[in-house]
């Protein structure tokens, strides 16, 4: 037994590259060795030198076949070592049943310079896994929590600590490796071996070794707190020479040029105990062989080694002996357990059977920079074009106009768009499921931790779920659990960047405030961490940059976690999942049952409705039938505009109507059916027996209960299941089933026949005292006529001819299949106006935006006028008397740049570039940007105005002794301004309209106000027209003012 343990250590220990052995010798030239302990992962070797293989090792063989190859170089350890085995090893046997953690193609995280890294490197080198290396434990753990990699390998003790600290972290039950550490002594030096063994035992007993180990293997923060101190012993006899290769943290390594480590300290303690000197010799190279043989040869007093697993190598143990194990190093896997979203898994099942959207030769529309954009890129090839739009609404508009074939977009907005436009719908199969998370700057790990902790708490206490359901739950959930800001003590402000055009995650709600799921969650997070929340609205593309350069602390905008984005920011734990769906051009209006032909129809798999859909609703052959496992799922897809109707039993339909508003069922049944069992024509015996039993069941209410279990009221349904009576039976009632039909007769999970028919037949058999045998059949009809079966369940596929061959029992159930569709709502223009402007005081987005626009225009004009006048004067002075050469030159460059580049770029450069790191109000940035731009044009206008003033005016002034400046100011400029007033006004008008691009930096100006309404109501036309009218009115007013002003100034002159 013990021998087999010894064997097991070999291979994995090798491949894990850990090795250390410390060898030492004593002065009298007797080299001894230390050897590394055992490894649970180790395999039996291909080496057949081993005379015996234990059962245990064989059981493990299969698990680690892949690791064998690289172990080929290593050899099985000798059995002589077995005596060095200690009891610890035995204890561990209980853990063995645990499965080996499958590391294949996973990413492993490790801390640099640890045993874990060495272990992981092996997997990396053989290409099985990727390895991420971190400098500190803290970042390692943080990234593990962030799912940067699948598992971390670290020392068991540390892993347990983190497991207790983070709820989502779990130590994998089976350890990754276990290494017993010992020293190697030259073979034959029994005296030293005994001495050292004795010392090790003492040190272990008195806890010295534990404290030495604890000083090294612990949290980063605690390392080195209680170092072993060499005892002050005056008389030391003899010297132990310890050879080491100092490249193995934490056993022997250089810490700031000082050789240190567990092995060194332990050996120091041993020497202190033995009253011997310790001499440490650093050996060159890193080969295990050289170490062992240095010890073995005795050519040096001693040798030290670093090479894990050498113990297992045969020929090493011919030259060295191992001391007792003084400590055991256990490496374990630390895993991050993700809370799986049940719903997602659930829906995946449903959608597995659906057809993928065929992207061939399609033009895909996306919003620039969104996940849809990225996905479209994946799907696009030479045949397919991707059209990128500034806004989702623009892409959808193109789809409505059939300019593109489909739009990849987030599910929620897709549903909203479909609601507003009858020509578009959502392709039933989800394109991808993604996770939303908040992002923070890479340099702000502390904040990330806080947010993650807060999110976890919110998740645990249900707040997160409440918030999300409040926006995207069922009809009765929406609005029922609004998040209430808590009254907590706060210090500091958390600046959250968002793009409030993405309902329901963030949008402009009542009174133009930014609301939505993300905002509520951020408020809840702020309540948790005790900070004030400040929301900054900006373009989606700008959010990551804002977080990166510190303009905002957190980005919260339904941001999908992607690898690309991870390179620039850190993401919190995901707080919800969302879907990317494909919007297609499809008339989503169903006004009558006839219109269902050619539509996308949802049915319950294998149900009468499914049958009806095939038979009655697909004359054109274009009808798309989607099968769901449950009615509720079908209903959900219907309300999400993924399917256009659901065909199901009237019971379900009527109930759905009660539960859900905005749905409508058509009075005409898609199909009507009565359900009875079939018997062979003329088989009166069975027929009367069964009918009699059915009558009885009807009388005693059993039938009703069974029916109620499938088609009753909600509270009845599923509550009853018929259980066969325990009774004596004689004879068998054989039932043949033509086709499964949910919920009448189908095979359940266990392969047993189930459903209403099965229940009824069980009850019938109980009445008749017969055994029941239900068999699925290829040809139930002939089974019946051949007499192979007594009763047939033939609900479907019967022709009249077939029916003539059969007799039917009493009808026990009849049902209608109805079609359920969305209610068609035709909104009047007034309703639309109401939606766009009155609901939630949306008009305020226009008025608030107008104020912003006017403020920016006004101040920018003022700034532009002052700067422009200054430039004009410099230029004029230069023109007239050749002075101010340098200033003039600067002005000319300025004019060239400003007039030669688009104002939008100037605005973006100023905001994202020049003011990127300072927190300047966006309005001020806009004023500066537009002022600078305007100044360039104003300057030229003024200059031309000055030039247009008669030269005689200036001469007359100068002749009176007035200085140039005085003449300019008092005589020329006033006249010039009058001349250029119309031109200046045109500049104001142009400026006013130019400010419409303020939205680029997230300012809520007039245009952005219109866009915000658009993004809320998904109405493209009305808000934009409204905004256009407002601009027009302002411009008309301005024009009027100038006309009046001009006239008045003219009057002044002509008085």
């Amino acid at each position: 037994m013990l021998r087999s343990k010894r064997m097991k250590r070999s291979a994995a220990a090798f491949m894990a590259l850990i090795l250390f052995a410390l060898c030492f010798t004593v002065l009298f030239n007797s080299p001894h060795f230390y050897a590394v302990g055992e490894n649970e992962k180790s395999q039996p070797e291909e080496s057949q030198t081993e005379e015996s293989k234990s059962e245990e090792s064989q059981t493990e063989e299969s698990k680690s076949e892949e690791s064998q190859s690289e172990e080929s170089k290593s050899e099985e350890s000798q059995s002589e070592e077995s005596q060095t085995e200690n009891s610890q090893t035995e204890d561990k046997k209980t853990e063995e049943p645990a499965e080996e953690f499958d590391i294949k193609s996973k990413t492993i995280g490790v801390q640099r310079g640890t045993t874990g890294e060495r272990k992981a490197s092996v997997y990396e080198n053989d290409g099985r896994s990727d390895v991420e290396r971190y400098y500190t434990q803290q970042t390692l753990i943080e990234e593990l929590v962030n799912d940067k990699f699948a598992c971390a390998i670290l020392d068991e003790k540390n892993a347990q600590y983190f497991e207790s600290k983070y709820d989502t972290l779990k130590v994998y039950p089976k350890e990754q490796s276990k290494d017993d550490l010992a020293f190697a002594v030259r073979k034959g030096n029994e005296e030293l071996l005994e001495k050292v063994n004795g010392a090790i035992k003492k040190l272990r007993d008195n806890g010295t070794i534990d404290s030495i180990v604890n000083n090294y293997i612990c949290l980063d923060s605690e390392r080195g707190r209680s170092p072993y101190k060499k005892k002050d012993i005056k008389e030391r006899e003899g010297t132990i020479i310890l050879g080491v290769i100092p490249s193995y943290v934490p056993y022997e390594y250089y810490d700031n040029d000082k050789l240190t480590g567990i092995d060194i300290d332990v050996m120091q303690a041993v020497c202190d105990l033995l009253k011997m000197e310790l001499e440490i010799v650093v050996l060159p190279g890193d080969s295990l062989d050289s170490l062992i043989y240095t010890v073995g040869s005795g050519s040096v007093n001693m040798t030290a080694v670093a090479s894990g697993g050498f113990h297992s190598v045969n020929h090493f143990l011919n030259v060295v002996d191992l001391t007792d194990v003084y400590t055991t190093s256990k490496q374990v896997y630390l895993l991050h357990e993700k809370g799986q979203e049940e719903e997602v898994i659930d829906e995946h099942d449903e959608e597995e059977n659906m057809k993928d959207y065929d992207f061939a030769h399609k033009t895909i529309g996306v919003q620039l920079g969104t996940t849809g954009d990225i996905l479209a890129g994946d799907y696009a090839d030479n045949d397919k074009k991707v059209e990128r739009y500034d806004k989702g609404a623009a892409a959808v508009q193109s789809l409505i106009q059939k300019k593109i074939d489909c739009v990849i977009i987030d599910e929620q907005p897709a549903i909203s768009f479909a609601k507003k436009n009858k020509n578009i719908a959502i392709y039933p199969k989800t394109l991808s499921v993604e996770e939303y998370a908040f992002c923070v700057s890479k340099s702000n790990g502390e904040l990330l931790n806080k947010i993650n902790k807060a999110l976890k708490k919110l998740k645990d206490d249900g707040t997160l779920k409440d918030i999300i359901q409040n926006y995207i739950g069922t009809d009765d959930q929406i609005g029922s659990t609004p998040y209430q800001k808590k009254n907590v003590e706060r210090s500091g402000t958390l600046i959250v960047a968002t793009n409030a055009e993405f309902p329901p995650y963030e949008y402009r709600g009542a009174n133009n405030s930014i609301v939505g799921i993300d905002m509520d969650i951020m408020q809840a997070v702020c309540d948790e961490i005790g900070m004030d929340l400040q929301v900054e609205d900006m373009k989606f593309e700008g959010i990551l940059a804002a977080v990166q350069n510190g303009k905002a602390d957190v980005g919260a905008a339904g941001i999908t976690v992607t690898e690309d984005r991870k390179t620039s920011v850190d993401f919190s734990n995901p707080y919800t999942t969302s879907k990317q769906v494909i919007m297609v051009y499809r008339d989503n209006v169903v006004e009558s049952i006839e219109k269902l032909d050619g539509k996308t129809i949802g049915v319950i798999a294998g149900s009468a409705g499914s049958l009806a859909a095939d038979e009655k609703l697909n004359e054109s052959g274009n009808t798309e039938k989607i099968e769901f496992y449950t009615f509720d799922k079908a209903l959900k897809y219907l309300t999400q505009y993924k399917i256009d109707a659901v065909v199901a039993d009237e019971v379900f339909i009527k109930e759905a109507l009660e539960r859900t508003t905005s749905l409508v069922a058509f009075d005409d049944a898609v199909s009507e059916a009565s359900y009875s069992f079939s018997v062979k024509k003329g088989n009166k015996d069975i027929l009367s027996k069964v009918n009699g039993a059915l009558d009885k069941l009807k009388e005693n209410g059993t039938l009703e209960k069974i029916l109620g279990n499938y088609f009753g009221k909600v509270d009845q349904r599923g509550n009853y299941s018929y259980t066969s009576k325990d009774m004596k039976r004689s004879g068998t009632l054989t039932v043949t089933v033509g086709a499964e039909l949910t919920p009448y007769i189908y095979t359940d999970k266990n392969g047993e026949p189930a459903g209403m028919d099965a229940d009824i037949l069980r009850a019938v058999c109980d009445e008749l005292g017969m055994e029941l045998k239900i068999e699925m059949s290829e040809d139930a009809l002939s089974d019946l006529s051949d007499g192979k079966a007594d009763i047939g369940i033939l609900h479907t596929g019967l022709t009249d001819e077939d029916r003539a061959k059969l007799d039917q029992t009493n009808i026990f159930h009849s049902s209608k299949q109805l079609a359920l569709a969305r209610e068609v709502v035709n909104k009047s223009f007034l309703d639309k106006l109401y939606d766009n402007f009155i609901v939630d005081n949306r008009w305020r987005m226009i008025t608030d935006g107008l104020l912003v626009t006017l403020r920016i225009t006004g101040f920018a004009m003022l700034f532009g006028l002052l700067l422009g006048a200054l430039i004009a004067i410099v230029r004029t002075v230069h023109d007239q008397n050749g002075k101010l050469f340098i200033l003039n030159f600067i002005c000319k460059i300025y004019l060239a740049i400003i007039r030669g580049t688009p104002v939008m770029l100037q605005l973006m450069i100023i905001y994202f570039g020049i003011f990127s790191t300072t927190n300047v109000s966006k309005e001020l940035v806009a004023v500066i940007a537009f002022g600078l731009n305007s100044a360039a044009y104003v300057a030229e206008v003024i200059r031309s105005g000055i030039n247009a003033v008669d030269k005689g005016q200036s001469e007359a002034g100068r002749c009176l002794g007035l200085s140039y400046g005085r003449t300019m100011k008092g005589i020329i400029m006033p006249q010039a301004f009058k001349n250029i007033l119309p031109a200046l006004l045109n500049e104001v008008i142009a400026l006013l309209k130019e400010t419409a691009i303020c939205g680029t930096i997230g300012l809520m100006d007039l245009t952005k106000g219109g866009e915000s309404i658009m993004s809320l109501t998904f109405d493209v036309f009305i808000p934009l027209i409204a905004v256009a009218i407002v601009y027009l009115v302002i411009v008309l007013i301005l024009t009027r003012i100038v006309t009046i002003l001009e006239r008045r100034l003219k009057k002044n002159e002509k008085q």
């Binding site: 005689g952 002749c959 009176l960 002794g961 002159e1053 008085q1055």
Partner: protein, 288 residues
């Protein structure tokens, strides 16, 4: 007018002219010498208000003034006549440095105003100028036109200036136009306002640049009579004009400038009665 404006600009810009001003030509040195000599006899120059010597002006390559030397005594009225393009306007405009001379010097009240160190604005305060095109300030009322310079240059307080303006307006009988804007005035009225605007500064000399050329014939009289009035009150004046009769009547001396030089210079009687220069004879025969 426009042309001359442009010329001025060009002249200012032309680097050649600038350098030329800096260097002293042979002629100038000669003039300097003479001054030094005349300096020894101060009595001779006691009544000289403006002394022009070796004045040259080039517009680009075209030399408009080719060396003019003359002096104007206090109280003297000098009329300058000559064919168009002869340089008479340039000569006049050079006197208060509206045109920067290419070379030569101008002494005003004993100060060399061509010297760059001299504050020309201060000099101009004492040299009123009246333009052919009136050049009233169109953005100001008549009274403001008159008051603006004296007040801004701190020659008078607002009240004093207002009083002075009223007095001057009364003198020319345009008191009712005090608050009107220039555009509402007739040419003759504008020119008279222009004259009293210059007078408001109490100048030592008045320079008239064809003051009646832009006027309707019926308005010429009122302007000339005002100028005559000034002459009778002993104002020193240099008048560039085409009104030969007026020159004869008002001037103490008449200069005939031809091709950039003073071709003849005499009392009106001799000038008009017995012209010597053949070009002058020809000129007079055409205009009289």
């Amino acid at each position: 007018m426009k042309n001359s404006n442009n010329d001025v600009t060009e002249a200012v810009k032309d680097p050649e002219t600038v350098t030329e001003t800096g260097e002293m030509t042979e002629e100038e040195k000669a003039v300097n010498k003479r001054e030094k000599i005349s300096g020894e006899k101060p009595d001779d120059d006691a009544e000289v208000l403006i002394k022009v010597s070796g004045l040259k002006k080039k517009f680009g390559k075209h030399e408009v003034l080719r060396g003019i030397t003359t002096s104007i005594k206090k109280g003297e009225v000098v009329a300058v006549i000559g064919p168009s393009g002869c340089g008479k306007s340039t000569f006049l405009r050079s006197l208060n440095l509206l045109e920067t001379p290419t070379s030569g010097r101008i002494l005003f009240e004993g100060i060399n105003i061509t010297d760059k160190k001299v504050n020309i604005n201060k000099m101009r305060e004492k040299m009123g100028m009246v333009f052919q095109q009136f050049n009233l300030f169109y953005n100001m009322t008549i009274k403001k036109n008159i008051m603006y310079a004296p007040v801004k240059l701190k020659k008078m307080t607002k009240e004093q200036a207002s009083e002075k303006a009223d007095e001057l307006l009364k003198r020319i009988g345009l008191s009712d136009k005090a608050n009107a804007y220039p555009d509402s005035l007739s040419g003759g009225q504008k020119q008279r306002i222009a004259i009293i605007r210059a007078l408001a500064m109490n100048p030592d000399v008045m320079l008239f640049d064809e003051p009646t050329s832009a006027l309707d014939p019926e308005m010429v009289g009122e302007v000339l009579s005002l100028i005559k009035d000034l002459a009778e009150n002993g104002m020193t004046m240099v008048i560039v004009t085409h009104e030969m009769g007026f020159a004869k009547e008002v001037a103490d001396r008449v200069l005939f400038i031809n091709e950039g030089v003073i071709a003849e210079e005499n009392t009106p009687e001799k000038f008009f009665g017995d012209p010597q220069n053949p070009r002058l004879k020809d000129f007079l025969s055409k205009v009289l």
